[in-house]
């Protein structure tokens, strides 16, 4: 999970910590703020903040899918990549 985050949200979380020894680059964190639970959008809750959002994300919520050995995620992009690879 930490070494190879897959989901854009997880990537954002892992990329939110400046390191003490690594290279100094401008980090972005996760843009925007948490979604309003009273006005949930159609499709993915995370779509407004996602850097890799594409058409299916605005329509339906994806199911939890295995994207690696014992590593599961809910993300259209990861599912599409897995189907391409298969």
């Amino acid at each position: 999970m930490l070494d190879e985050p897959r989901h854009p949200y997880m990537k954002g979380l892992v990329g939110s910590f400046p390191t003490i020894h690594g290279p100094k680059t401008r980090l972005t964190g996760i843009p925007g703020g948490p979604v309003n639970l009273l006005e949930l959008p159609q499709g993915r809750n995370f779509q407004a903040r996602c850097t890799e959002c594409f058409a299916p994300c605005r329509e339906i919520d994806p199911a939890l899918t295995e994207v690696g050995p014992g590593h599961r995620a809910t993300c259209h992009l990861l599912i599409a990549r897995k189907e391409d690879a298969a």
């Binding site: 003490i20 100094k24 703020g33």
Partner: protein, 324 residues
């Protein structure tokens, strides 16, 4: 008052009375011999545990509380001297604080508009209501709170922690702050929001604003600040360029702080961490020796009796330790 370029703090000492009788007052020394320089367009990070005097120094520089002795020199003029021509209110407009808790620092019964406009009206009386309003909205846009007109009409409870902290920054910017003393501005925010605030402050540096960035987190100090100073029980124990201090820490306390940072990919090293040998000491005006002597893994007899002098290691990197 011209645009401030530099605030130099020289030998700041801050004592707080803790009791005692009529003839013998007892004091604790919250800051001792603190000397530092804040420059416009640059950030100085102050790192240390709770109780090391970081906030106390910031409050003295903001003139919220008065130091027991020492100088605060602004562009060559000592503002604590009775001869100073710099008025307290003019100074306050230029040197603003941001506090740790964005839920406590904004009054919940006022709108954001009121919160940002009020200090503008106090410090710069004169402009019409419409001009103040335009200024408030422009400032809210600048800190990333668009659409500003909608944000201005909201109450603090309608905003998230990160947004509130942006309001606190807007409040400082709106009165024309030249220096911002940020007292742990991101420690109460979600990790994903923290970088947004740090990057906003980074952009403000480009506009010539100087920062004193108080933090527990030495990694964000390196990320944001050009220079870093490490404090322990009221003393600056090591300071210099942030990269120099974090990559080649020389004071045992700085080394301990850097070893204490958990890193993704590095499993717990609790087993090899040095045992905490004592609590943070309480120092008074009569205390002797190095403040860190009780916890230092490399303590010598001299450390317990004499306060170490300041040694320059390489250009601009200083340490207060008998080992160097």
């Amino acid at each position: 008052m011209t645009a401030m370029q530099e605030i130099q703090v020289e030998n700041l000492v801050i004592d707080f009375p803790t009791g005692g009788g009529l003839f013998r007052r007892e004091h604790i020394r919250a800051a001792n011999c603190v000397s530092l320089t804040l420059r416009a367009g640059e950030a100085l990070a102050i790192v240390g545990e709770s109780g090391s005097g970081k906030s106390t120094c910031a409050r003295a520089i903001a003139r919220i509380s008065a130091p027991s002795s020492g100088k605060i020199v602004v562009d060559g003029e000592d503002i604590l001297a009775s001869t100073t021509k710099i008025r307290q209110r003019d100074y306050a407009a230029k040197v603003q604080m941001i506090f740790q808790d964005p839920f406590g620092s904004l009054n919940s019964v006022h709108t954001i508009r009121h919160r940002v406009a009020r200090p503008v009206k106090l410090h710069h009386p004169g402009p019409s209501g419409a001009r103040v309003e335009a200024h408030v909205l422009a400032t809210l846009e600048r800190v990333g709170l668009a659409p500003a007109a909608q944000t201005a009409a909201k109450y603090p409870y309608e905003l998230s922690g990160g947004q509130r902290q942006r309001v606190a920054i807007a409040r400082a910017l709106a009165v024309g702050a030249r220096f911002i003393l940020a007292d742990e501005p991101i420690s109460m925010l979600d990790v994903s929001i923290r970088l947004g605030i740090l990057n906003l402050m980074e952009d403000m540096k480009q506009d010539g604003i100087g920062f004193m960035y108080i933090t527990h987190d030495i990694a964000t100090a390196r990320y944001f600040a050009e220079r870093t100073a490490v404090m322990y029980v009221g003393h600056m124990v090591e300071w210099g360029e942030s990269d120099s201090v974090t990559q080649t820490p020389r004071h045992p306390y700085t080394q301990l702080l850097i070893d204490a940072i958990p890193q993704p990919g590095r499993r717990s090293t609790a087993g090899n961490a040095p045992k905490k040998r004592a609590d943070i000491p309480v120092r008074g005006p009569d205390s002797v020796g190095c403040p860190f002597a009780g916890r230092c893994p490399k303590v010598t007899e001299t450390c317990r009796t004499t306060l170490p002098p300041v040694t320059q290691l390489e250009k601009g990197h200083y340490v207060r330790c008998h080992l160097h």
